[in-house]
Amino acid sequence: MSLSASVHLRRCFARNKTFVRCINSSSSDTHRKTTSFGFQTVPEDAKESMVKSVFDSVASKYDLMNDAMSMGVHRLWKDQFVGDLKPGRRGPMRCIDVAGGTGDIALRILDFAREKYADRETSVEVVDINDQMLKEGFRRFKQTMYHNTPQISFHEANAQSLPAEQFPDNSYDLYTIAFGIRNVTSIPAVLEEAYRVLKPGATFACLEFSRVDNPLLGTLYDQYSFHIIPLLGTILTGDRASYQYLVESIRKFPSQPDFARMIRDAGFVTGKDIDGGAWTNLWGGVACVHTGVKV
């Protein structure tokens, strides 16, 4: 089964030589642990480098593609995400923004604390596994007042295993991860790391694409995702495969109650399993904010 998966992947990603090398090296060992890469099933150790290839190729036009795919709505979602968290309300915070390469969330956190609470001590450490995305973020932050201040720093690290010297236990007041957690190989590992680095009383917040329950909206959303988005990827960036992966990975992500349960399994305390409790649906579930508190 993994052999036919590897043949199929070779066809899909034939132009990207990194993928071909990657797939050729995986043997048809059916006992190896597998995970999902969009709708395909791949060996677990292959997923990380495949995701890396996707984000290496989308990095420079990531924001253009986000705007084209969501018709600019992702900005509203991120505004609401940060607005509901109210960073800086109870004094300066040490925040960690994971998978936050291009710095969208970090910038919003720092702006919110500064504008609403006149807070210039809150800091955000942006962590991402992909150095191209971090470079984009660094370049964008040069256009802001936070460049070269202790308020912002960029770190290349794997969310599933944050190095303990750089990211000690119990050191952050806020952990955010926006549109990143569906790309990791093991979600529980990321949640455990989040639990480790947060201080007691601190908040875990995750913004991610999720399940749409409403059948009419769901149908429109599916049509748009599977028919328009890969074509937009072809037209704007010449890279259909990466955007096909992105829309498929959204469908494979756990539903709202399942993800809330995974957050609780990592040790966090969440609200009730209803919309408005452990999670808040945005636009009917197209995007969703999950929160938890470490006690």
């Binding site: 066809r11 034939a14 149908t219 049509q223 028919h227 074509l231 072809t234 037209i235 704007l236 259909r240």
Partner: protein, 272 residues
């Protein structure tokens, strides 16, 4: 997909224990490696999107290719039938030869005598700096044979340049597009021919429309349909004989002094 059909799919899926839960309304299995099936809305969307984007950024060869495939329509079956009507064309459809540096021995071509078609093509490649390896594979044509016809057209494009003795600057490309439209009838050629000149300055546009286009339309329509020519079997043929056989004469192309400088005077192609 239309809403009624989608709802029908949902209601079919809601019935328990029926085989229809697994049926799909459109076939999305790839018909050949690299095939990306599109429904008619996606096809139109890609056609319009690639037209706009390739006008904005003409270096996106992959989008020009996509535009050609999504707008080909009835032109490809017509070309395939023309190929089937000629013995040489039938041989091409049977062999399905590809043109790239793996399949064509460039060294052998360089050693052919002056005045042969193979040597002319190799000289043309050197003068223009083009390589036959950079052609985008076909993705959006559903029938594998028609996909091959499209691929063949794309790979033979350089041959058309070379046999008509045109360079690869913008006005020469447009001249070849006019030639192709008259000769093969592909909508992409017409679209490029209309959209392309918008990017030219007045002097180049005047050369294009006063010299190149009349020649291209006249000889494109009277010469043999070039898709039926099995170029790879004619490397040793004398290029002037080949041009006479095909009906191509008096090329008005101008080459800049820079590209002529690398070639010895004896090899200068003379327009007959």
């Amino acid at each position: 997909m239309s809403l009624p059909r989608t709802l029908a799919r949902f209601s079919a899926a809601a019935k328990p224990n029926t085989a229809s839960m697994k049926t799909r309304l459109i076939n999305t299995t790839p018909a050949y490696p690299g095939h990306i099936p599109l429904n008619s809305f996606e096809n139109a969307f890609l056609a319009v999107g690639s037209a706009v984007m390739s006008l904005l950024d003409p270096y996106r060869a992959d989008l020009i290719a996509a535009l050609g495939e999504t707008t080909a329509g009835p032109a490809l079956p017509r070309l395939r039938d023309i190929m089937l009507a000629s013995p040489e064309g039938r041989q091409i459809l049977k062999d399905r030869p590809r043109i790239n540096t793996q399949t064509v021995d460039m060294n052998a071509l360089a050693q052919l005598p002056e005045g042969t078609w193979g040597r002319t093509y190799k000289t043309w490649l050197e003068r223009t700096g083009v390589t036959p390896d950079s052609r985008e594979p076909v993705h959006y044509v559903d029938d594998p044979e028609l996909a091959y016809v499209m691929q063949r057209y794309r790979e033979c494009h350089d041959f058309y340049h070379s046999i008509c003795n045109f360079s690869v600057n913008v006005e020469s490309e447009l001249a070849i597009k006019y030639f192709e439209f008259a000769n093969l009838g592909l909508p992409l050629a017409a679209i490029s021919a209309i959209g392309g000149p918008l990017r030219l300055n007045a002097k180049k546009r005047s050369i294009l429309f006063s010299e190149y286009v009349p020649w291209a339309l006249k000889y494109g329509s009277t010469s043999q349909c070039l898709i039926t020519v099995y170029w790879e079997k004619r490397w040793e043929q004398n290029v002037d004989d080949l041009r006479t056989e095909l009906g191509i004469r008096d090329s008005p192309a101008r080459w800049s002094r820079k590209s002529s400088a690398t070639v010895e005077p004896s090899a200068e192609p003379t327009s007959t």
